[in-house]
Subunit: 377 residues, 2 copies
């Protein structure tokens, strides 16, 4: 119940243990094609260039940036947490012309401020995080998408934590490049980064003046292995692709809307319980992520001690804060296969016990508040 | 029996299916430490900076190059196959000053020629492939190591296909940076790239003037997650590390010398059988890789048809040629868990049958020649 990896469906673990096919075996190529089609469904896109990059979510971030940016290109990065900060770092390494707009950690970017920044720097690309795993903020994307496109910029979205847990809607929101990770709401082990590029992004790729700085992540070659050419590039991580294939089927068997509703219900139950206990959420209600809940650590309570007891005595992992939020919040994941009513109840019971043992003021009624949400129609 | 992935030991597949620990869980950190120590034993090194990069072997190649090279640095790349060519491509993307020395595909680099090239360009780094998977050539490293170090250069070695199947001997040969892959003679699924950096290489890393172009592969940050700081960088591919940990234990339980001897014995048996049938090896005897056997396709035999029948009717995969060797050789892998007497006999029997059905001239006595090698003391 930390910020990922989440627990896996047993069928996904079973898929990991299947014997290996060759990376050019016709049976494996069929699995690749199917995995791409499943990914398109989960991403809600018809983009042809949709595939899992052979690395973790951060490799997906770097893939999107290094393929779309060339030295000197103006790029606007929206920052309200660790992952926006990371994008800015990568843009600098790519020798892009970096422009930044920041919001307080724990709050979304304000579209009016984004618009002013876009008008100020005329970026080739606007990069923004849909679900900031470091703070629990859900960023509304519609306005930012409109603003970026009206200025002729591409829109790049980090959907590492949102994909499979809330609506990413790649085509509906006209996202030009999106990346995710497997170990959050897709509930697959970490190791792959689904990415998808729009037709406009493909045109930018095709019109590059110089080669992508990374050979490993160069989509102009990777796409030929995943496309009909099947040109050897690097050996695909076979077992991870088996697992992602199975995990995407688990997602679609549940149904995207049902899955989003489950994440929301369990999130609301958790928040009701935490608030009934007297704890306070970091993020304002409309911008809370359903799968990553940042809750303020009560005064006088020692962060590390609580998490150590949770892990050692209750076998529950939750995350600590990062950057300016270190020691100030806990990050409670309810991601994919781990987003269950049982986990909400288990955690709240354990947390109540530990906080009381530490002498913190905790109100009663947390469990009742949770059950009221879970039992509501 | 292609150029990788090889088959896995059942224990390795079982490890892939274990439930996930968090990437900062104390129990997982213990597994990381142990995996590094096992890697050091298999690489025969005491290098502190020894870890699996979160990508396939090519990510290991890029990691070594992008961390050690800065724009303008002179680099000598030795090329006698696909993977030397790939290194040269990466050096250019990194804006290094690329110098190349080439040997015919199927032959090793001549140390005298390497020495002349080193004297001509005074490189910061000499890059060479120990086991060229595209041709089956084993490159002797001792002379090249001496030449590089006498000129004050670092020595970078591609050990993707050799590690776990023949002696890499990182410290003994004073290799400054080495990378490998998991899916060859370590018999672990593809997805990780073991790397190791010497003290001299670390000094070069620490003295960099500018940041590494890749955030994902930047060892100055990755080493802090694998080191005592445990600073979060990216989410480790947990299951793949479970698998590598188990695969390395399988290697060391067999013993490195016993494992090398097994690879050599099965290779000699295969070659004896192929030559008895009248087929011809691409590589001269002293430079043949034990784990990757390139054999010339007899005149009049259709490459693709033979491989298709081998796969469809005999369930055996072998590799085709790459680049100038496409259609001219087959590449037969005897890697790790797949290097067995049974596999040699199975393949030779099937190949004899298919070649005869195609009307190729095949001499009898292949199986007897194999058994003679396998039964020798």
């Amino acid at each position: 119940m930390g910020p990922g990896p989440s627990n896996c469906h047993p069928g996904v673990l079973e898929a990991m243990a299947q014997p290996l096919l060759g990376h050019l075996d016709p049976d494996f190529l069929t699995i690749m094609d199917e995995t791409q089609e499943l990914l398109r469904q989960v991403l809600k896109t018809r983009n042809r260039l949709t595939l899992p990059v052979s690395g973790t979510g951060s490799a997906g971030m770097e893939t999107c940036l290094c393929n779309l940016i060339e030295p000197g290109d103006p790029v606007l990065v929206c920052i309200n947490g660790v992952f926006g900060t990371r994008m800015a770092d990568i843009v600098q390494r790519l020798r892009g012309e970096l422009h930044m707009i920041e919001a307080e950690w724990g709050r979304p970017l304000d579209p009016a401020a984004v618009e002013a920044a876009v008008l100020g720097c005329s970026p080739k690309l606007v990069a923004i995080v849909h679900a900031e795993t470091s703070t629990g903020v859900l960023q509304p994307l519609e306005d930012v998408s409109r603003i970026a496109h009206e200025a002729g910029a591409l829109l790049l979205v980090d959907a590492v934590t949102s994909l499979g847990g809330c609506n990413v809607d790649t085509d509906g929101r006209q996202i030009d490049a999106v990346y995710s990770g497997t170990q959050k709401c897709l509930s697959c082990p970490p190791g792959l980064a689904p990415v998808s590029f729009s037709r406009r992004a493909l045109e930018v790729l095709d019109a590059r003046r110089e080669k992508v700085s990374s050979w490993y992540l160069d989509m102009s070659m990777v796409k030929k292995y995943w496309g009909s050419e099947r040109t050897y590039h690097h050996t695909a991580p076979i077992s991870m692709i088996y697992a992602l294939n199975r995990a995407l089927k688990v997602v679609l068997e549940e149904g995207l809307e049902a899955r989003f509703a489950r994440h929301r219900r369990n999130h609301e139950a958790l928040v009701a319980g935490l608030e009934a206990m007297g704890l306070e959420m970091l993020v304002d209600e409309p911008y809370r992520l359903p799968m990553l809940n940042a809750v303020r650590i009560p005064n006088g309570v020692e962060d590390g001690a609580v998490r150590r007891v949770l892990l050692a005595e209750h076998n529950i992992e939750i995350g600590g804060g990062l950057g300016p939020l270190a020691g100030r919040v806990w990050r409670i994941g309810l991601m994919g296969h781990s987003s269950t009513a049982e986990n909400v109840l288990l955690l709240l019971g354990a947390l109540e016990e530990i906080l009381q043992a530490q002498g913190a003021e905790v109100r009663n009624g947390g469990m009742e508040a949770v059950r009221a949400v879970l039992d509501s129609p």
